[in-house]
Amino acid sequence: MSKSDWNSPEAARRIARRNASELRFKMIGLGAIVLSLSFLALLLVIMLKNGVAGLDWRFLSGSDSTEATVAGVWGATKGSLLTMGVTLLLSFPMGVLAAIYLEEFAPKKRWIEWIEVSINNLAAVPSIIFGLLGLAVFINTLGMPRSSPLVGGLTLALMTMPVIVISGRNAIKAVPPSIREAAYGIGASKVQTTFHHVLPLALPGILTGTIIGMARALGETAPLLMIGMRAFVATPPDGLTSPSSVLPMQIFLWSDEIDKAFVQNTSAAIIVLLVFLLAMNGIAIYLRNKFEVRW
């Protein structure tokens, strides 16, 4: 192509077309973000408008009641906290150990591939199925108390574990092989290499995945329906085995009430749940930034 071609009207048109298409794409992308964010803003505005007046100490410290003005969210919040505690205690160590084993220790054999496929499928199983499983195994077979944070936590742990395994494996995979070689090269054993070098580097990614999995479990309603956590519970649970509700279930129950006064309660409970979710995501970001090692 000779030099003058770049100055021809044809070339100018071509460049103008290209610039227009770049601009078009930027606009479409911006539009997509604005559209999705505006729904979030709309949700927040409506909830704040309806619920903020109901957010007082009595609401935050009370438990469910048939009387809208007396009903509070503490019982469900405490139930959620206990349930999440059980979920975290079980799914985090199990998920991390499974991820480490699969990534670092498992022989590359056929049966390992089967396990990998199963775990990926497990993460995609609809949550109501986990609820049925929890009902069949923990309540009907093992005789654990219905509606309890213990069973709720166990059921949600089954759901959360595959998420932690998958994010954990990705985080472990992202640790450069040169670090493993360096450790092997001075005579570190496989376990030493994994726990002294690979795991600390993978931890931010694992924690982020864990918190995102936990946030999902916190908002989960369907599996808890199956294990009876939708009962009317007027006192906060005093242990892992006493009947309890959880926040999303409380929202579901109140939204079903005919009494108009519960609209405010529903919105206020949604605000509480959203605050928890945002706090967990915030912690995830904080931990990732704090522990991330650059090299």
Partner: protein, 253 residues
């Protein structure tokens, strides 16, 4: 004075079905630098990695034949690969310090092997290793800084310090200067020359000039076989094999 440190007899290495090393026998002596040269893919790095069983960590790798360290078969069931790698240390192509402090980088090896129980012992081991690696003067005031914050050449000397901190008998170097600039390379080469007093050193290098500069013996590999092995002077001035001569005169590779 030289004596044999490592002996390889009829070594074959397979990656799955593929034969990467074919019937290599070689003696590696104490107190000198032995260089492995050859074109890319000739198997020199693969063979180097059989000497401390680094290939064990690769799925599907298999080694036939015998490799003796002081007369002891390193592939025998009684040989623990972890203990072996403490005796036969390794420095890699790309500097790979741990993302920890300079002190921790050097102290990690001695600590896991239980060398030096007290804090003072450990500080002494770290200082000695860094001094030997020619890095002490540059880093003595900032031992708590991240090892990854050093320059490339310093990082590689840190990796050498890390390797010598566990008092190995042999140090394997897999193209240790290929990621470094000429000045950093010269420092590492000086260092290799000093270290050969204390360790048997085997270096894989792409650069024939480097092999000529630092080594006393040179082995030329081609297509997975050891073509020629001898005194470095003889290999570079009077090669016996046509393939060696073609390679060192730049006909291929």
């Amino acid at each position: 004075m030289t004596d044999t440190k490592l002996t390889a007899r009829n070594v074959d290495v397979f990656y799955g079905q593929k034969k990467a090393i074919n019937d290599v026998s070689i003696d590696i002596d104490n107190g000198i630098v032995t260089a492995f040269i050859g074109p890319s893919g000739c198997g020199k790095s693969t063979f180097l990695r059989t000497l401390n069983r680094m290939n064990d960590t690769i799925a599907g790798a298999r080694v036939d034949g015998e490799i003796l360290l002081d007369g002891e078969n390193i592939y025998a069931a009684s040989m623990d690969p972890v203990a072996l790698r403490a005796r036969v240390g390794m420095v890699f192509q790309k500097p790979n310090p741990f993302p920890k402090s300079i002190f921790e980088n050097v102290a990690y090896g001695p600590r896991i092997h239980g060398l030096g129980s007290s804090k003072a012992d450990m500080e002494q081991i770290v200082e000695r290793a860094l001094t030997k690696a020619g890095l002490w003067e540059e880093v003595k005031d900032r031992l708590t800084d991240a090892g990854t914050a050093l320059s490339g050449g310093q990082q590689q000397r840190l990796c050498i310090a890390r390797a010598i901190a566990v008092s190995p008998e042999v140090i394997l170097m897999d193209e240790p200067c290929s990621a470094l600039d000429p000045i950093a390379t010269a420092r590492i080469e000086e260092l290799i020359d000093e270290l050969k007093e204390s360790f048997a050193i085997v270096i894989v290098t792409h650069s024939m000039q480097q092999a000529a500069r630092v080594s006393q013996r040179t082995a030329f590999f081609h297509l997975g076989s050891l073509v020629e092995y001898g005194e470095t002077d003889q290999i570079f001035t009077n090669p016996r094999e046509v393939r060696t001569k073609d390679y060192i005169t730049g006909r291929y590779g």
